[in-house]
């Protein structure tokens, strides 16, 4: 225990003496958290619409103004040429072209019983398929609203059978306003503390190898577990400290709720960090240069992050990817931190994750200690 104390003292002196690394460790994550959380939304608020109105009737104008009145659509270009509209789609100046054919009003106003149909067209830039789907859904709603208004104002009520309707009410629990920031912040926070902790510990160990000081340590009677713990604890403490900073920022700057028990979260974070720092140390015990550590951990880190479901839903991934997430520590922590903060889940709800993560930590640390060789 005393030996570990001496290692900790030395590590902390080295960390805080390196004036160029300190801001990278402590300021960069805070800045990234403050900025990047705002970026991560699929919420469409701004759809640029190009209008080609060949009917120029009061009905067609009413439809266009209906789009203008919607919070999603911005009608910013208008002409009589569909080709022109398509050019705007190519240059990304428009997301959708609304094309109203001639005779739109005439076809619309016919009384029920005839088969005539008003002609209009939506050309959607579908390079981003999801966005295109949403544009489609939003436009359909606007058009349906427009139709209801027309039927009412022109008194076109059907004489025959009344169509049935299903009213869909919806509510979003845990985040009624669909504020994406309160769910992005925990995710980005997890990424930041993981990168900091894992890289610092992994690079630190292999750096001693490169500098030759590890050889000096290896001829001392220090025990392997003492050395690994000494290399792990400082970065474990720093990562937990940054988690705390991140939560404070989340709470005050982004109003992220903390519904669950904060000590449950800290407990899980503590176990989680042992697991990922264990991975970092393991990588560095099998590498001989900082460069190798860097490339290997970059690969795993990026893969783990993008597979974890932080930015895109896990269910949409193929089965093998979801199975692969069993060994993805990010996936566990992202799930747990959102559950505790936003849903108030308790110890019992996350018991499965706690057990898995403890096992993970045990395995990765044992591997690190086992693979660390006190040889030259």
């Amino acid at each position: 225990m005393r030996t570990i104390g001496f290692i900790l003292q030395k590590e902390f002196i080295q960390i805080f003496r390196n004036k160029t690394m300190l801001p990278i460790i402590f300021i960069v994550p805070v800045v990234q958290l403050l900025i990047l959380v705002h970026a991560a939304t699929f919420d469409m608020k701004h759809i640029d619409m190009y209008v080609v109105d060949k009917d120029l009737s009061s009905a067609s104008r009413q439809l266009v103004s209906k789009f203008e009145g919607s919070p999603f659509f911005f009608v910013n270009q208008q002409s009589f040429s569909v080709e022109n509209g398509e050019d705007h789609l190519i240059t990304n100046e428009a997301d959708v072209v609304l094309h109203i054919h001639e005779g739109f009003e005439k076809d619309l106003m016919v009384q029920p019983g005839t088969k005539s149909q008003a002609k209009m067209q939506l050309l959607i830039n579908a390079v981003n398929g999801t966005k295109a789907g949403l544009i489609n859904a939003y436009s359909t709603n606007v058009i349906a609203d427009f139709r209801k208004e027309i039927i009412k104002s022109e008194n076109l009520i059907a004489k025959g059978e009344i169509p049935s309707a299903i009213n869909v009410n919806f509510s979003h629990w845990y985040n009624p306003e669909l504020n994406y920031k309160i769910f992005m912040l925990p995710g980005i926070l997890v990424i930041l503390i993981t990168i900091i902790g894992m890289f610092l510990s992994a690079l630190n160990l292999v750096r001693e190898k490169e500098m030759g000081t590890s050889e000096q340590i290896n001829v001392t009677p220090i025990r392997k577990y003492q050395f690994i713990i000494g290399k792990l604890l400082p970065f474990w403490i720093i990562a937990l400290f940054e988690l705390a900073i991140g939560l404070v920022i989340g709470y005050f700057a982004f109003s992220v709720p903390i519904l669950g028990n904060i000590s449950t979260l800290v407990l899980f974070a503590a176990i989680y960090l042992f697991a990922v720092l264990g991975i970092g140390l393991f990588i560095s015990t099998v590498s001989s240069t900082q460069q190798q550590v860097m490339f290997v951990s970059f690969f795993f880190m990026l893969t783990f992050i993008l597979m974890s479901g932080i930015f895109t839903p896990v269910e949409s991934m193929p089965g093998w990817a979801q199975n692969l997430n069993i060994i993805n520590p990010f996936a566990y922590f992202i799930r747990v931190i959102r559950m505790i903060l936003l849903k108030g889940s308790d110890m019992i709800d996350i018991s499965r994750e706690i057990v898995s993560m403890s096992l993970y930590a045990l395995i990765s640390l044992s591997f690190a200690v086992w693979r660390y060789r006190k040889v030259a």
């Binding site: 003292q9 003496r17 001829v219 009677p221």
Partner: protein, 244 residues
């Protein structure tokens, strides 16, 4: 203390192979407590490989060796408690101060903070370097660093210290001072096991062994060896032995 037969280093038929390459070929020698033992040889003769085995950093392929009575196969951690080691690669932490380096290494050898403070004072006093106690290693000249590294290696008062080419790359005056430190250490009862390729330094050793191509070619005191092989000085002797 020492092994059964009184030797602090007792090596028999020690062999280390890397694949087909034989780095150490059946080395047999021993060192008595308090000796200054020189381990000579050209670069690539197998000195460093042997020293790493004796320090418990690597395992021999075959043969026997005990250090301070402990077996190099099974009791490497006990060996490490009893030895000091200074490698040819400089190994103090550049970003720590002199005292912080002493404290760290003292700490992992299990010394108490009080003892560490006392030993640091003593060692710095001997080096006449009390005033650099709080200087960062990085800012010191190489010769000073080497002397400090030596002091750090003996902070826990080991029975035996291994010095692997400690004087390579330092100026003649520092080398001289370094040897004064070695003598002082030996007087204090610490056995010194030193490798070098400076043949003039070999004269300072009590006994030397000369290695070439993984084998020990000769072993004995410098004077005995010189007369035995009819050589004027160690350099002459070395060339004669290695040429054959």
């Amino acid at each position: 203390m020492a092994g059964e037969n009184g030797y602090i280093v007792d090596v028999k038929e020690l062999t280390k192979k890397f694949g087909n390459f034989i780095a150490n070929d059946r080395l047999t020698f021993n060192v008595s407590p308090g000796e200054i033992f020189g381990f000579l040889g050209a670069n690539g003769a197998g000195k460093t490989t042997a020293i790493k085995i004796l320090c418990g950093l690597s395992s021999p392929t075959s043969g026997e060796a005990t250090i301070a009575g402990y077996n190099v196969y099974r009791e490497t951690e006990k060996i490490k408690q009893n030895i000091g080691y200074m490698s040819q690669q400089f190994s103090l932490y550049e970003d720590l101060t002199v005292y912080e380096n002493f404290r760290f290494y003292g700490g992992i050898y299990g010394l108490s903070r009080k003892v560490i403070r006392k030993r640091t004072e003593e060692l710095l006093h001997e080096l006449n370097m009390e005033k650099v106690k709080n200087r960062v290693i990085h800012s010191l000249p190489l010769g000073w660093k080497q002397k400090l590294a030596f002091s750090v290696a003996i902070i826990h008062q080991p029975k035996l210290i291994f010095l692997d080419e400690p004087t390579s790359g330092v100026d003649p005056i520092t080398r001289r001072q370094f040897w004064e430190m070695i003598y002082k250490t030996a007087q204090d009862g610490i056995t010194v096991f030193i490798t070098t390729h400076y043949m003039d330094e070999a004269e300072y050793c009590g006994r030397v062994s000369i290695m070439a191509e993984g084998k020990i070619k000769a072993i004995g005191s410098p004077n005995d060896l010189k007369s035995q092989y009819d050589a004027h000085n160690m350099n002459d002797l070395f060339i004669k032995l290695v040429r054959n």
